[in-house]
Structure formats: C-alpha cells, structure tokens
C-alpha cells in the first residue's frame, strides 16, 4: 500500500540553525500539507501546497518557514533560523484531490532544537 514517507525521523539542531525536513508524498497525490504537533498538544496546520504553490498557510507559518517541491517526488519544509519553540513533531500529509478522500499522514520528523 502506498504511503507517505519522511526523513529524517529525528533531527537535533542548535538554535539559529537551518533545517530541512523532507517528505515523499504518495505518487498520484496532488495536495500536500505540513502540520506540526508540539509534544502532548494538538496537531496544528502549517501550510498547504497545490500546483507548485502555497494554497494556504497558517499564522504559524511565518517568514522563517518555506516549502518547496524541488522535483516530482519530494516535498520539503525549511526552517531558516530555528528557535526553541520550533521543537515539535512535523507531519507531512498528502491527498489525491479527487474529492471525498482523506489526508494520509507520514510517520513524522521529531525536531529537537537545543
């Protein structure tokens, strides 16, 4: 069964450093998303991406965040200058966009900023 994959599974970085989180969505999916979940809290929407551009973003997704689909398979989230409060689990999700379907979530990347 096709699945969303994410790398790395765990990333430790120092405050102020740049990180890139990678996702490979399911191949025939058209919509891509990033969510984050701070430990013990709810899942929060960050950004959605369709047709090679951001379709929506939340207040959390400020200028330090960016997303890219550099080729036909990868979908990346970049955090330019990490802060302690960026420590969270980051989930990538995708869906086909044909209507009525669900978002499939990847296993997540745990980001720890020290």
């Amino acid at each position: 069964e096709p699945e969303v994959t994410q790398t790395p599974s765990h990333q430790v970085t120092q405050m102020g450093q740049e990180v890139i989180l990678r996702c490979v969505p399911i191949s025939n999916h058209l919509y891509f998303y990033w969510y984050r979940q701070i430990l013990g809290q709810k899942v929060e929407f960050l950004v959605s991406f369709y047709n090679n551009e951001i379709s929506e973003k939340s207040e959390i997704f400020d200028d330090q965040f960016s997303v890219e689909r550099p080729d036909g398979s990868n979908f990346t989230l970049k955090i330019r200058s990490t802060k302690l409060e960026d420590s969270a689990m980051y989930f990538c999700a995708s869906l086909t966009g044909t209507g009525g379907d669900e978002q499939y979530f990847g296993p997540g990347t745990r980001l720890t900023v020290t």
Binding site: Y35, F45, S48, E56, S58, F91, G100, P107
Partner: protein
Amino acid sequence: ELKVEQNPLFLSMQEGKNYTIYCNYSTTSDRLYWYRQDPGKSLESLFVLLSNGAVKQEGRLMASLDTKARLSTLHITAAVHDLSATYFCAVDMKYDGSQGNLIFGKGTKLSVKP
C-alpha cells in the same frame, strides 16, 4: 475562525464498557475526520464523514456526523485494551467543495483498563 472542541480530553474506561467522544465545531463544514494516534506515532485515519447523517462503523468504533448541529460523535462499544490511544477529530476548513486544511481538536486520550 474555525474552532474544534473535543470532550472529554481524558477518558479512563473499563474493558467491556461503552462510551462516546464528542466533537463540536464552530463553522460550516461537511467534512470531518477521526484519527487515532498511538504514543510517539503518526496519525492513523479511522473515519471520513462527508455528509449530514453519515454513520460509519469499524469494529468497536462507530462515528457519526450531524452537520446541522456541527457535532460528530465517536462511540466505543465494549472497549478493549487495544483501543487505548489518543483520538482526534479534524474538520476540513474549506466547505466549498474543495479540500482544505484540517483543523484538529485537542484530542481525547483514552485509557482502557482491565
């Protein structure tokens, strides 16, 4: 702003008992999702509810949607220990027919004890 409220946030049940988790949301939407999350794991899709009156069942779990009341329920029948997890409802922000971004409730942490 769409708000999604779940209750209860914590639920301790005995095996064999029945209980219902409630999910209220604040604005019009006809797409509601239930996810299960085990500790440290990703989100597993349980149900996709797409219309008023939708009812879906899988094993000991049954979900329903009342769009007029803006309420979804997840009913647990004869709980077993394996159902212990955190359950999230999520509402699609876009109610104009296109898929949008999911707004999650805070989750209900279910613990089923023998």
